[in-house]
Amino acid sequence: MSYSKFDLTFKIGQYLDRHLVFPLLEFLAAKETYDQSELLQAKLEILSKTNMIDYVIDIRKMLYLDEDTPEDIKSRRGIVLSQLQELQDAVEPVLRLMQRDDVMKTVETMRDPKTLINHLTTNKEFEFKVEMIDSMYRLAKYRYECGNYVESASYLYFCQLVMSPTDKNYLPVLWGKLASEILVQNWDGALEDLTKLREFIDNGGAGATASNMQALQQRTWLVHWSLFVFFNHVKGRDLIIEMFLYKPLYLNAIQTMCPHILRYLATAVIINRSRRNALKDLVKVIQQEAYTYRDPITEFIEHLYVNFDFEAARRKLNQCQAVLLTDFFLIACLEEFVENARLMIFETFCRIHQVISIGMLAENLNMQPDEAECWIVNLIRNARLDAKIDSKLGHVVMGAQPLSPYQQLVERIDSLAVRSEALTSLVERKQKTRNQDIRWGTQEF
């Protein structure tokens, strides 16, 4: 397919964990954009470094239909299982502890890791030792590699509670937790972890920001991982704009490391009707980075808001749909995107034009004339548009008339008197208080 050149899977894949790439590959497999066996091969490649042996065997079967599973893989399975058992034994008490709801409740109420550890170690009943934290972390990692994300997430949760932020494993724990939450699709938890991780990185937590370079890398990773969360969580659409566009550090990271993220940012801005004011900033960023990255979505915005070339914008909108269809993150918001993009075109149109012919409008919006008329009528009815339809000529006539200079003047000076008055009263009040305290008053001036 021709749109595979806009496929970002490989670019994004570089910044993701192995396990996180799976959903993307699954998606691609479902879309059938690429050769199936190639994809399977890729999957196998990824799995080779994990411990998901069963999965490997399955894929091998699909890939090499008639071949038997090699012995070494089978034996590895055994090793993996025994290792897992070993690790599990090491932290047996903790696992038991985690089974008990009452204990977990008290654990959760304690915010400070030190007191928590104190509580756990002093209480003989728990058989808890400090060394177990590390073992716990290792177990969680192992579990994660085996694909048991749910367990991994819960273990890591415990680790998080017990570890102090200065621990060398704290950062990996945060990352692991985020990955696990994403993979079990627990978006609330994932969002929480995401915020935690971001704060940790931004505040220069141990290991995260040893150098600017590392911090930049961490941020780039975070930007990519957060895509999973933002496009699945309800609040994600506001948050993505907030984080990518209005946090200079992350905007810088995007601009220097991964301008392709602009696609997601642009989409987020387009589908977020309440954040129209972000458009201006977005346009600036897109223009600035136009030489390193462009795809139909950024070009759509450029055409619409920089060149006011509606014809080109329309063409791009067509392309956008195709691109969105092949994008793992964006496919869910295709409908919304198209609707909002149309609205954007139309709004811009209305601001510029006095009279628009419905035919032309329909053409620009990729709609049938009847459909377009219906759409406009709906807009007018919802009081979102001050316009009338001249059905005889097939025109939409805008209602808004510009302000006369007189009105402008009145508007401008309207508030002046009130404001000045408020100010004088404030000054007077202040004067009074100052007079009460003469000592200060004389000193100040």
């Binding site: 006011f308 070339d309 034009h353 628009i356 032309m360 302000l403 006369s404 200079p405």
Partner: protein, 879 residues
């Protein structure tokens, strides 16, 4: 010599005379010295007579002093005064008017004696009336008289311990009386007599003795004398601290001298007189190389240690005032030949080469002047040889970290003390100086410039060496030199699409070097320079985005004013080039932003270090001028100023004219570009405007045409044959630039037209607009739409008829003024509120405001300081 430079600049002026003997030395030397001898003898008798007289009186005076005979002392003193007055002409002639030392000593002693006698009140009281009277008057007279010799006395008092020369003097005079001395023996004495006054003030004697020095330097026995004197000057410098050691050294040296002298005699037996010696001088360059062949005793075993010792001897003389630098060079050369003859190894060769390089650098006594081209090319040769040696031996390391003791010259791994990089850097600097010295429009300059290839090649090779065994910091330094020779050159291969594989363009090279420096540099300076050069290079090849991003990421525009002048110059050059690049790419606004700062001041020439402008207010001091001259760029690196100005004016026009049209009634209109504005105003004031001649006039004429909305005239003024020849053809991709100009001028003219004439239209057909400005309809539509969206044009489009319907809401003059007033009042209220809010910290207001201004600015937008300033002005305007 170098020690000398460090101490002060006055040495520079005097050292100029030191060149002279070199030029003058060869043939006439001997006749000269003969003459001199004769005159000397005549003078001496005259002088001796006077001095004798003085001395006799001083002797009496001393006797009187011993018996405390004040009245006789007074008489003697008066006599002494008279005698000295008589001797004055001799003194003036012989000693440059500086009183002889024995005389000064007498004065000082007398003074001491008198003052001690005066201070001793008890004994003074016991004196007879006549004696005390004599003492008083003696004291007063003495005081008056010594005033004339204040300098000498002070000098004397500084180190009274020096061997008093009157003994010597007497000695010589007595020998004079005996009158039977042979020539050889007499000469040093005769020379010695003028010596004492030479010691005290080092400036005066310089010119006179450098002359007779050069003439007699061939005499080998003389040179021992020379060294004692060198020693005494050093002693003067260090006072009494290391006199003993000095003396030892002196002795040693004398011994070697004597030995050498002996060898002279042995080897030169057949050559009876001095003239014979001359014939042996190969190359016949210096007068002082007469002892060249007697480097070693004939039968001595020459090995590395001996050569090193010899080298130590030679270089010990380095930096002395009296050292003949040319002779040193010759000696080193000879030593090298000897070492080569005896196969003493490459490490030794390397060491000798390094010493030669150092001596070559010493050769030029003035830091500010360039060295002579032939010496410079010898320098290149030597450094090149060093590199060849180093590259030829894997196990040979040249580093300044080795001490003399650690050197390994005989057995591998060889370790040699020295610094290739420093030599290279100075060599490069000298090259630049050489270029600056000659007239850039002459053939000579071209000839010199051909050497640039040599320098570049040499730098390449040095880079190889440094890469092999240098520290990262050294590699950075070497790379920076490389970059310095690379960044301003346009590589035509870089813009070609079909680059043969495997070929590395300069862009790639720059990238490689710069990245290394970014990663490994520890001093900020190298990195800054590397970044600037990198930006420059990108800009030169039209890589606008890369250049821009690099600049923005480096945040240099905020810190550059704290860096050293040469870095600032580089920054200015980079900005100029970035501006040109932006312009070529059609980013007019950015071009203007880059160039505004340079052009605002009206002296881009100075900012780019491409020439000194005469200053009106205050004259530059000599020093200042010298320093500024040193900073100048060599001609081949210059940026065309006319091109720069033209680009600036055209971009200013493209921005300013529509802006002016849009804000005709706006009270808060500000000038975007002051320089351009002034030019325009000046032209408008003229009663009669002739056809444009210069580039500037063309730009102004074009601007005026654009104000009328006459794009065709505007374009014709900007792009015509004259301007092509003057400006546009100088650009890479001139045709693209012209096409871009045509497009931009049309667009901006259209905007100006709309701003200016909108009020006379009720509706405007986009079609006819497109025809009028010969633009595609789509483009007109987009431009008009943009103006409508930005509320610059109060209109809306009528889609079916493709017309822009203008709303009759252009305010009348009265209304516009009313709106202005309302605006101003509004601002007043705003600022009132602001003041009120800040009342608590009223006095910090200014600071806060500035801080605000900076905050509001996002770093990626922050183009340069100029915009920031403007913004600040704005805020002030608001208040």
């Amino acid at each position: 010599m170098s020690r000398f430079f460090a101490t002060g600049t006055d040495s520079e002026s005097e050292s100029s005379s030191e060149d002279e003997p070199v030029v003058r030395a060869p043939a006439p030397v001997y006749t000269f010295s003969d003459d001199e001898e004769e005159t000397k003898r005549v003078v001496r008798s005259m002088k001796e007579k006077r001095y004798e007289e003085l001395e006799g009186i001083i002797h009496y005076l001393r006797n009187h002093r011993k018996i405390k005979d004040f009245s006789s002392a007074l008489a003697s003193f008066e006599e002494l005064q008279k005698a000295y007055t008589r001797a004055a002409p001799v003194v003036a002639k012989e000693e440059n008017g500086v009183a002889p030392r024995f005389f000064v000593r007498a004065l000082v002693e007398l003074e001491d004696w008198v003052s001690s006698a005066w201070a001793d009140r008890d004994s003074r009281k016991t004196l007879s009336k006549g004696s005390s009277k004599a003492l008083t008057s003696l004291r007063q007279k003495l005081r008056k008289y010594t005033k004339d010799f204040e300098a000498e006395v002070a000098k004397f008092r500084e180190d009274p311990d020096l061997p008093d020369d009157d003994e010597e003097h007497k000695d010589s005079s007595s020998s004079d009386e005996s009158d039977d001395e042979e020539k050889v023996k007499e000469k040093p004495r005769a020379r010695r007599s003028p010596e004492p006054p030479r010691r005290p003030p080092p400036q005066d004697d310089e010119s006179s003795d450098s002359m007779d020095w050069g003439s007699s330097s061939s005499d080998s026995s003389e040179s021992s004398d020379d060294e004692t004197r060198g020693a005494t000057t050093i002693r003067e410098r260090f006072l009494k601290r290391n006199t003993e050691r000095e003396d030892d050294e002196e002795k040693d040296r004398r011994k070697t001298k004597i030995r050498r002298d002996r060898t002279v005699k042995v080897s030169k037996k057949d050559q009876a007189d001095d003239g014979g010696e001359w014939e042996t001088v190969k190359g016949g360059k210096g007068a002082a190389i007469s002892d060249k062949p007697k480097m070693f005793a004939k039968d001595s075993d020459i090995d590395a240690a001996l050569v090193v010792k010899k080298l130590g001897e030679i270089s010990a003389a380095r930096g002395r005032k009296r050292t003949d630098r040319r002779a040193q060079l010759e000696l080193l050369h000879e030593l090298r030949t000897v070492a080569a003859q005896h196969n003493l190894g490459d490490a030794l060769q390397l060491k000798l080469r390094a010493a030669t390089v150092a001596a070559l650098f010493d050769y030029n006594p003035k830091v500010s002047d360039a060295m002579k081209p032939e010496y410079w090319s010898r320098l290149v040769e030597n450094v090149d040889q060093m590199v060849t040696l180093l590259l030829g031996h894997e196990d040979m390391v040249l580093s300044e970290n080795f001490t003399e003791e650690q050197e390994q010259l005989v057995t591998p791994p060889f370790q040699v003390r020295g610094c290739l990089l420093t030599a290279l850097e100075r060599l490069d600097d000298e090259f630049t100086k050489l270029l600056k010295e000659c007239d850039p429009h002459s053939n000579e300059y071209v000839e010199r410039l051909k050497d640039e290839v040599r320098v570049s090649a040499l730098i390449d090779r040095v880079c190889q060496v440094v890469e092999r065994d240098g520290t990262p910091q050294e590699i950075c330094r070497a790379y920076l030199r490389k970059i310095d020779h690379l960044y301003y050159k346009f590589d035509p291969r870089a813009v070609r699409k079909d680059l043969p594989p495997g070929e590395e363009t300069t862009i790639k090279k720059m990238e490689r070097f710069c990245k290394y420096i970014y990663a490994h540099d520890e001093t900020d300076r190298l990195r800054t320079r590397a970044i600037l050069s990198h930006i420059y290079h990108h800009a030169l090849h039209d890589n606008w985005f890369q250049a821009r991003d690099l600049l923005l990421m480096s945040h240099l525009q905020e810190t550059v004013q704290h860096s050293d002048p040469s870095t600032q110059i580089l920054y200015n050059r980079t900005m100029a080039n970035l501006g040109l690049c932006a312009f070529r790419r059609g980013n007019v606004k950015e071009a203007h932003g880059c160039l505004a700062e340079l052009m605002m001041t009206g002296k881009p020439k100075e900012l780019l270090a491409q020439g000194l402008l005469p200053q009106r207010q205050h004259e530059r001091s000599k020093e200042q001028e010298k320093i500024e001259k040193q900073r100048q760029m060599p001609f081949h690196m210059h940026i065309n100023l006319e091109l720069l100005e033209c680009v600036y004016l055209v971009s200013a026009m493209l921005i300013e004219i529509p802006y002016m049209a849009a804000h005709e009634f706006d009270a808060r209109r500000r000038m975007i570009s002051k320089t351009f504005y002034q030019n325009l105003r000046a032209s408008e004031r003229q009663a009669l405007v002739g056809p444009p001649e210069s580039m500037r006039e063309h730009a102004v004429a074009a601007a005026r045409a654009m104000r009328r909305g006459d794009w065709r005239a505007c374009l014709n003024f900007i792009v015509n044959e004259k301007m092509n020849a003057k400006v546009w053809d100088l650009m890479v991709g001139a045709d693209n630039v012209r096409a871009m100009l045509g497009r931009l001028i049309r667009e901006e003219s259209l905007r100006t037209y709309l701003f200016t004439y909108a009020h006379v239209y009720a509706s405007l057909s986009l079609r006819s607009l497109a025809d009028m400005f010969e633009m595609p309809r789509q483009r007109v539509h987009s431009l008009v739409s943009k103006m409508i969206i930005n509320e610059e044009l109060l209109a809306s489009l009528d889609d079916p008829s493709e017309c822009a319907i203008l709303h009759r809401s252009e305010p009348t003059r009265m209304q516009a003024l009313a709106l202005q007033l309302a605006d101003k009042v509004g601002n007043l209220v705003d600022s009132n509120e602001r003041i009120f809010e800040k009342q608590g910290s009223f006095f910090q207001r200014g600071g806060q405001q500035r801080g605000e201004g900076r905050q509001r600015e996002r770093p990626r937008e922050g183009w340069n300081r100029r915009t920031r300033n403007r913004r600040r002005d704005d805020e002030r305007g608001d208040d």
